[in-house]
């Protein structure tokens, strides 16, 4: 069973639908017992870093997420759910993130003629040893919607990169923690394969 953490973030329904489509049971929840019992946990999210961390703390989910991650079972952050795994974001200065992986979230730098947010399909360069991207061709396209991006401190945590104004760390793997800046649940066949890799870990 996959627990999808429900902390009032928008758009989490499509994550649930994609998991169900792949034939796996999915529950949207913020209940500690359900999360701790789950085989896999997904932290989705669309919105602002500061608001999301406020909600996570309001529902006492910081402690639960950290306890779950310690069990060693697979954990996947998606979009804002990736950003929250880091220490801080230029979007909400002074707000502490979950600090599970070293790195920081920065604003996509202005560049001539480039629109911010990045909205659309961009290609990714995949780290060949990545488990999340097993069986996925290097250079595949995935769907991004974001104004802030991840810069990992340790290159070995980076599972995929993309380029938009600057080098963007599009996905990470750090022990049992996985995360994507893009939306696998909206990235067609490639995205479904990524989610399938996750639920089969």
């Amino acid at each position: 069973m996959v627990a999808i953490i429900d902390y009032d973030a928008g758009n989490i329904k499509s994550v649930e639908k994609a998991i169900l489509y792949l034939g796996e049971e999915a529950v949207m929840t913020r209940d500690e017992d359900v999360i701790m019992r789950a085989d896999r946990v997904i932290l989705p999210g669309v919105g602002a870093f500061g608001d999301a961390m406020d909600k996570i703390r309001e529902y006492d989910l910081e402690r639960v997420i950290k306890a779950y991650v310690k069990t060693g079972k697979p954990f996947l952050g998606i979009c804002l759910g990736l950003q929250l795994l880091f220490d801080e974001s230029e979007e909400s200065v002074g707000v502490k993130g979950l600090n599970l992986i070293p790195g920081s979230i920065r604003k996509i730098p202005d560049s001539d003629g480039l629109k911010i947010p990045q909205i659309g399909w961009n290609s990714i360069n995949i780290n060949p040893s990545s488990r999340l991207f097993k069986g996925i061709k290097d250079g595949s396209f995935v769907y991004f919607v974001h104004s802030y991006y991840l810069s990992c401190e340790h290159p070995e945590d980076v599972a995929a990169k993309t380029f938009y104004s600057t080098e963007i760390h599009a996905a990470v793997e750090h022990d049992n923690i996985f995360a994507c800046q893009f939306h696998p649940e909206k990235s067609g066949e490639v995205g479904l394969k990524i989610l399938k890799n996750f639920i089969e870990m």
Binding site: G10, S14, Y21, P117, I119, N122, F163, E185, K186, L192
Partner: protein, 275 residues
């Protein structure tokens, strides 16, 4: 590299896909879920569903459609048509839509854009703009019908600009389209879906003067709409027109052009696409 998007648009009435020709004559072209799956397979980068249901329980019809589409289609999709309140946004996003497009309701109350963006994020607020070249000279006579005035509007110059229309293109608001697009961005719109009413249904090409003018004046993506008839029209609007995405409806519905053909043509001319 971020690619240019090709977006089929499905007009939906009472849960069935139809296509408006110049917003008036409608033809039935199938089930929204079937169409969505087919377009995903055909290489569509995202989908737009424009709902034109008039009945009083339209919201239930729309949310039911959105739920069904979201269960089987895993590319982004936008829903528009008749959305007037933040509660409408919530009801449709909750069922799995990625973006909501608003048109008349945003003209009536521009704060809808900011309220929705604050609540759900700019990325899901698309403002649809129906724009038409300003009528000048004899064509500006309000007693003339739409088609009569188009025929007479030969004195138009780009400097005369475009105005926006509401109610499915029936009512000229007299508001400058470029100014309105800029205001939408300021209020928190995440994208502009720009339809040229002059070009719509003609298959003679997008209005690239309009598209370029809007794209150069806003920092958010612009989706060009109205007038696609050939592969080269897509190329023109994505290059000269500076659009980030191009939308078409009947052209794709009736297989006059395949999405893949359009994308191969674009790739051959060095426009980045997802193939």
């Amino acid at each position: 590299m971020l690619t240019k998007r090709i977006i089929p648009c499905l007009d939906v009435k009472d849960g069935r896909v139809v296509k408006g020709i110049n917003f008036v004559d409608l033809r039935d072209a199938g089930d929204p879920v079937e169409c969505g799956i087919a377009y995903d397979k055909a290489g569509a980068d995202e989908l737009v569903f424009l709902d034109i249901t008039a009945s009083s329980d339209r919201r239930n019809i729309v949310t039911d459609m959105v739920r069904r589409v979201a269960e089987t289609v895993f590319i982004p999709f936008t829903v528009g048509g008749g959305i007037r309140t933040v509660e409408d946004f919530r009801a449709i996003l909750r069922e799995g839509a990625d973006k909501i497009s608003v048109n008349s309701a945003a003209i009536d109350d521009p704060t809808l854009i900011s309220r929705a963006a604050d609540k759900f994020g700019s990325q899901c607020v698309v403002v649809a703009i129906d724009a038409r070249r300003r009528r000048v000279g004899k064509a500006a006579d309000p007693s003339l019908s739409y088609s009569e005035s188009i025929k007479m509007n030969d004195e138009w110059k780009p400097s005369d600009g475009w105005t926006i229309y509401k109610n499915g293109g029936r009512l000229d608001m007299g508001i400058d389209a470029i100014e309105w697009a800029k205001k939408c961005e300021e209020l928190g719109a995440g994208e502009i879906l720009l339809t040229s009413m002059d070009a719509d249904g003609t298959k003679a090409g997008y209005d690239n003067e309009l598209t370029r003018m809007v794209a150069e004046n806003v920092g958010i993506p612009v989706i060009a709409s109205g007038g696609a008839g050939t592969k080269e029209h897509f190329y023109d609007t994505l290059t000269y027109g500076k659009a980030d995405a191009a939308l078409a409806a009947s052209l794709f519905h009736f297989k006059e052009l395949e999405i893949r053909e359009v994308k191969e043509h674009l790739q051959g001319r060095d426009v980045p696409v997802r193939l």
